[in-house]
């Protein structure tokens, strides 16, 4: 086991050398120090394994069984605009920023006019004119040594989604970041996404991951979000990778005083999916809500590890994840809530509900509350069940066929996660995914 990991780690260390050699002038930028530190960290630590508490249900060894190539060349030219149209939410008005194999595609992106001082687009493009302030933001809230995947992503920091909102800036239309993996090679893409929202600013963005062809690939992404005082940041992650691929992601958000960070995470694709979502409520009056829906079938694995850190008083957090599992698929939900000493008047609830459509599907769900303040309100609950036989019979006794009855109940179950998504067209698309998945898929 150890020997195998040595081999794959050397593979990535060599991949890094290649990557670094191609950076040329990029090496003079401040962010390069961070890359070097991260790869050194990567060299020191091993990939996670089943003996670690945070990974004990998620066997990542299949990911380590592949030597993924780094997409050095831009593949943009090979994608026609019409291939993307199914993923654009029926022409929803918004800023569309497209990445192909981890790199920004100017040709495929469709920007809209933006308020003064607002930057929405590619991190690589933004860093070309960086005075050092972007470099400072990267890895500000997420230690590259957190785990090997984070270290690897940080070492390969070169491009990704980027939003910068000056104080008071409001972006009305949603920002749609579309990450596409394409090509015949077995590729690794490592988007490094950064959202910095100044005081009183507001933005909604969508991180949307898709694979255009069948075949194995690996997305290893990191998203950092900084919600300044009284800012509102609304992020939706849609993971629709192909079913052979792997997707490991960490979202790290820092919420200042009176700021609001809302997250929705919907996952439907990937063979192995792991999402770490960590939110620090760092200023008084901050608020976060994390909603999630995972759909799995076949032998898919979906793992969400969340951590909400109440580091200041008078903050609220709500977490609500639902899963629908079929076949031999598996899901993991681990929700940790930490209420630090001094984080009085914390109000926090957490809920995880699952429906198993097959006897062979399995969920491991675990709440973890660590409370060091005495004046707090915290609640949590988890359920794992099947579609209710009573409900099925009730629907059928009214003339609704078995398949449709099943779909109605699945919709109803998923609905309270989807209904809070504000963009109608996005919500409709997600409902469509749900119906396609459960009408034909299983």
């Amino acid at each position: 086991m150890m020997a195998e990991n040595t081999e794959i780690r050397n593979w990535y260390l060599n991949l890094y050398k290649d990557f670094e050699n191609r950076l040329n002038g990029e090496k003079s930028r401040p962010v390069h120090k961070l890359r070097k530190a991260a790869i050194e960290k990567f060299a020191e630590i091993d990939f996670p394994n089943l003996h670690q508490e945070d990974w004990r249900f998620t066997d990542i060894s299949p990911i380590l069984g592949h030597t993924f190539a780094y997409a050095a060349k831009k593949a943009t030219g090979s994608i026609r605009a019409d291939e993307l149209s199914p993923f654009l939410f029926g022409g929803m008005r918004g800023h569309t920023v497209v990445f192909v194999n981890g790199f920004y595609s100017r040709e495929l992106s469709k920007p809209l006019p933006l308020p003064k001082g607002v930057v929405v687009g590619s991190l690589a493009e933004a860093m070309k004119e960086d005075d050092g302030s972007i470099g400072e933001q990267i890895a500000k809230r997420l230690d590259p040594g957190t785990d090997a995947f984070t270290a690897l992503n940080t070492a390969f920091t070169v491009d990704g989604a980027y939003i910068n909102l000056p104080d008071g800036a409001v972006v009305e239309d949603p920002v749609h970041f579309l990450f596409i993996t394409t090509g015949d090679e077995r590729l690794i893409s490592q988007p490094r996404n950064l959202v910095v929202a100044g005081k009183n600013s507001q933005v909604r963005f969508i991180e949307h991951y898709i694979g255009l062809q069948p075949g194995v690939y690996f997305t290893n992404s990191v998203t950092e979000i900084e919600a300044g005082r009284n800012a509102t940041v609304d992020g939706l992650k849609i993971q629709e990778e192909n079913r052979e691929s792997y997707h490991v992601a960490t979202t790290a958000a820092f919420v200042e005083n009176d700021a609001n960070y809302k997250s929705h995470a919907v996952s439907n694709g990937a063979k192995i999916y792991r999402h770490n979502i960590n939110v620090i409520l760092g200023g008084e009056g901050g608020n976060t809500s994390l909603e999630g829906l995972y759909l799995t079938a076949g032998e898919q694995l979906s793992d969400t590890h969340s951590m909400i850190d109440h580091a200041a008083a008078n903050c609220t957090s709500g977490e609500h994840y639902k899963g629908i599992l079929d076949d031999k698929s598996r899901a993991v939900f681990n929700g940790k809530i930490l209420v630090r000493q001094g984080a009085q008047k914390t109000n926090s609830y957490q809920e995880n509900r699952n429906i198993l459509l097959s006897n062979e599907a399995k969920v491991d769900t675990k709440p973890q509350l660590e409370i060091f303040a005495d004046d707090v309100k915290c609640s949590h609950g988890a359920t794992v069940g099947q579609l209710s036989k009573e409900s099925m019979f009730y629907l059928r006794s009214r003339g609704v066929g078995e398949e449709q009855a099943k779909l109605i109940l699945i919709y109803a179950f998923a609905n309270d996660v989807l209904k809070s998504i504000k963009q109608d067209k996005v919500r409709e698309e997600l409902e469509h995914i749900l119906s396609v998945r459960f009408l034909k898929g299983i």
């Binding site: 036989k389 019979f393 009730y394 629907l395 006794s397 009214r398 003339g399 609704v400 109605i408 109803a412």
Partner: protein, 252 residues
């Protein structure tokens, strides 16, 4: 319309129905009475096709078709309706959408065009008057947070919308106060016609003051042990079920 012959059924290997014979013609109302555990609800659910109930012998012919071989949804589309003793709550399923879906399933089955949302709503408003149901219950999830009486009224509303040939009311009266009972019974009476039939399953005679049956059958220990007209229900009310039990034992 419906002819049941020698029907045997069991739940979890336990035989509940031990040979039921019953003939129901169009335009008739039959009351099935009997003590707790006699098999009344089992009979209702077997006719509707509840999967947990296994028919072990006998047959039920509905409009010249073999009812028992049909899936529950097909029975419904053919015109069989069961008003549940305990209506099920469906959180997240809108009541109006649910009713329209159900109606359209039946219409599709009969090669009729689906009804539009607008036309459906207009029809629904009229039907709601039959059960004196407030509009607010339409935008809610099916039965979720409904009171006991509201749930039962919602059952009768579904019946009004689906216009079944054969309606089976499974203890629709239990747990209702007299006002709710009257509303539910009025609803059922308004839906009675020479073309449809109703089977009223009940433990109490009270409901039969409002829905007057043509026939009353007493079910005991999985068999119909006595049949008569509406006076039989009054006699039962008077003498209690022990009277029938004793008579059954004597007859043996």
């Amino acid at each position: 319309m419906l002819e049941i012959r020698n029907l045997h059924a069991s739940v979890e290997e336990k035989e509940i129905l031990k040979g039921i014979d019953l003939k129901v013609n169009a335009g008739e109302v039959h009351a099935i009475m009997g003590p707790n555990g006699s098999g009344k609800s089992t009979l209702a659910n077997v006719l509707a096709g509840r999967p947990e109930y296994k028919v072990t012998a006998g047959e039920a012919i509905f409009e010249s078709k073999d009812l028992l071989s049909m899936l529950p949804e097909v029975r419904a589309r053919e015109g069989v309706f069961l008003a549940f003793q305990y209506p099920v709550e469906l959180p997240g399923v809108n009541n109006t959408t649910f009713l329209r879906t159900a109606l359209n399933e039946a219409r599709k089955y009969r090669n009729q065009p689906e009804i539009s949302a607008g036309a459906f709503l207009a029809m629904l408003k009229k039907k709601m008057q039959i059960v004196e149901m407030p509009d607010t219950l339409l935008s809610r999830a099916v039965n979720e947070g409904f009171s006991g009486g509201e749930k039962k009224r919602n059952e009768i509303l579904q019946m009004a919308v689906l216009e079944p040939r054969l309606a089976i009311l499974d203890e629709t009266d239990s747990g209702l106060d007299i006002d709710a009972l009257r509303i539910v019974a009025n609803g059922v009476n308004k839906l009675r016609s020479k073309d449809n039939a109703v089977i009223v399953v009940t433990h109490y005679q009270r409901l039969l003051n409002y829905i007057v049956p043509d026939f009353v059958h007493v079910l005991y220990n999985g068999r119909i042990v006595k049949s008569g007209d509406k006076d039989l229900a009054l006699e039962l009310e008077d003498k209690g079920y022990d009277w029938v039990k004793d008579e059954t034992v004597t007859a043996k």
